[in-house]
C-alpha cells in the first residue's frame, strides 16, 4: 500500500462509483503522480491491495455491472451494513423508510421501476414521520444525486451503485421476489421475463442484447419458448 493506492481510494470515496474505463485511467494517473509501478491489466490486483487494507474496516471496492448498459463499474461499498442503514450519512429515519418503500416498489415491480406517483402515494403510509409531497420530491432528487436511484421520465430505478452495494441485502430481504439473471446469474431488477407461466425466468436487458444477438428466432434459454420481447440494442 503506497500513496498511489491511497489517492485511488480517496477518489473512490469522493465518487462512490466509477466505471471501468475511469478506474483504469485513474489507476494509471495515481501511479504517475506517485512514481509507482503501473502495469496495464493489473487494476484488479491494485484494487486487491487496497481491499486487503479495507477489510478490517468492513469496506471494499467491489465490481459490478450496470443493468442499463452492461458496463462494468467499481463501487466503494460498506459491508458492515449491507442494508439501508449504510446511507445513514445525512438521511433521517423517515427518509430511510421512504427509500425502503421505494425499493419495495421497484423490486416488486416486473420491470424494476417505480413511478414518482406511486412513490409519492407510498409516502402517505410512512410510520415514522410523514413527508410532505414537496419533501418527498426533494428527497428523491437527493437520492438520485447521491447515486442511490436513477430517474428517467418520472420512473425510478435502482442505480448500479445501489445494486452493487445492496445486493446481499436485496437477495435476503426480497428472497421471494427477486430473480437471478438466467445469463449472468447476478440479481436482476430490470430486465425481460419469459412469458411462459411455467418458466418465468428473467434476463437483464444488456444480457438479452448479447445473448440474442444475431438470432432471428429468439427462444428462452430455459424453456425454449419463443422470446416475445423486443431485443434491445446495446
Amino acid at each position: 500500500m503506497n500513496d498511489s493506492h491511497r489517492r485511488f481510494l480517496q477518489t473512490m470515496m469522493y465518487n462512490a462509483i466509477v466505471d471501468e474505463k475511469g478506474a483504469r485511467s485513474l489507476y494509471r494517473h495515481c501511479c504517475e503522480i506517485h512514481n509507482t509501478q503501473h502495469t496495464p491489466g493489473h487494476l484488479d490486483k491494485f484494487i486487491d491491495t487496497i481491499n486487503s487494507q479495507l477489510q478490517p474496516l468492513f469496506m471494499q471496492i467491489r465490481k459490478g455491472t450496470s443493468e442499463d448498459t452492461g458496463d462494468q463499474f467499481y463501487a466503494l461499498v460498506n459491508m458492515a451494513v449491507t442494508d439501508v442503514t449504510r446511507m445513514s450519512s445525512g438521511y433521517a429515519d423517515n427518509e430511510l423508510e421512504l427509500f425502503v418503500k421505494t425499493m419495495d416498489l421497484i423490486v416488486g415491480s416486473e420491470n424494476g421501476t417505480a413511478s414518482s406517483t406511486d412513490i409519492l402515494n407510498s409516502a402517505d403510509t410512512l410510520t415514522t414521520k410523514k413527508l410532505k409531497k414537496s419533501e418527498t420530491q426533494h428527497l428523491l432528487s437527493r437520492l438520485v444525486q447521491d447515486k442511490w436511484l436513477n430517474e428517467k421520465g418520472g420512473e425510478y430505478t435502482l442505480s448500479t451503485r445501489c445494486i452493487i452495494e445492496m445486493e446481499p441485502y436485496i437477495s435476503t430481504m426480497y428472497q421471494d421476489q427477486v430473480k437471478v439473471c438466467q445469463i449472468c446469474h447476478s440479481i436482476a431488477i430490470q430486465g425481460q421475463i419469459c412469458e411462459n407461466p411455467m418458466c418465468g425466468i428473467k434476463i437483464h436487458n444488456p444480457c438479452v442484447a448479447r445473448y440474442f444477438k444475431g438470432r432471428p428466432e429468439p427462444q428462452c434459454p430455459a424453456c425454449n419458448d419463443f422470446w416475445p420481447h423486443e431485443i434491445p440494442e446495446i
Binding site: 480517496q10 470515496m13 485513474l26 468492513f58 458492515a80 441485502y169
Partner: protein, 270 residues
Amino acid sequence: MTQRKRLSNTPSSSQAKRQSGAFPAQDDDDDVTFTQPSSTQVQRGLEKLTPAQVDQKTAEVVQFFLVKAQKKIPIRRADIVKHVVKEYKNIYPEIIKRATQTFDKVFGLKLVEIDTKNHLYILVNKLDPVEGDSPISAPANPKMGLLFQILSVVFMKGGVVRENVIWNTLKKLRVDPGEKHEEFGDVKKVVTEEFVRQKYLEYVRIPHTEPVEYEFRWGQRAEIEVSKPKILEFLGELHEVDPKSWSQQYREAHASQNSSQPSSSSSSQR
C-alpha cells in the same frame, strides 16, 4: 449504523433488521460527562476486551469520521463518544490512536484535534492536491482554486485582510460575489459560510466599524492542509518572480513548514 453488531457480509447473516441508525446531526449536550481516561484505565479496559472487539469499535469510529468528514465539518469528541464509542469510552484514547493510524496508513488522511479545549477533530488530506487533469473528478474540486486565491491574498498581506480586498481580487478574476457564479453558485455564501464552516477561513467582524466590516484570516484547516511554500511557488511562477524576493513571507513559509505541515511522504509503506 453504529448500533449494529453484525459485521459479516454473508447474505444469510444479513437478517437485516430494518433499523435505521442515522447519526443524529449535532446535539447540544456537551462533554462534561466524559473525562479522558488515564493510561492505566485504558490498559485495564483493554484487558477486558477481545482484540476483535477493539478492532470493530475502531472500524466504527473510522466510518463515523469518514461519513462526517464528507462535509469537512469538524467532529466533536462528545458526538464520537455518545454515538459510537459508547460503553468503550474507558479505552477512548486507544481507539483514537488506532483510528489515527488507519487514516494515515490506508486513506492518506491525518486526524487532527484542532481544538484541544472543545475537542474538535478534522481530517486533513496528506496527499498533495494535483492540479488539473485527473481522469475522474477528484476530491480537489474547483472551489479549491477559489479558496487558494483567497488564502494567497491573506498570506501575502500579512495574515489579515479586510473583506473588500478579497471581493475586489475575486472580481478581477471574474468571480463577482454579488452575482450567481455558474460553477460556485452564491460566491459570497461559499466563501463566508462554507469555507468558514470547513475551517479553511476565519471571517470575523472588525470591532467598531460603521458600516459593519469583516476581515479574513486563515482557518485552522488551512494552516494544516495548505502549504505556504507552495503558495509562494505558485505566485512566483504567476508573476515571474523569485519567491525569495518576498523575504518576509518566504521566511514565514519556511519557518511554519516544519511545525504544522503534514508531510505527504511520511505515510507508512506496506
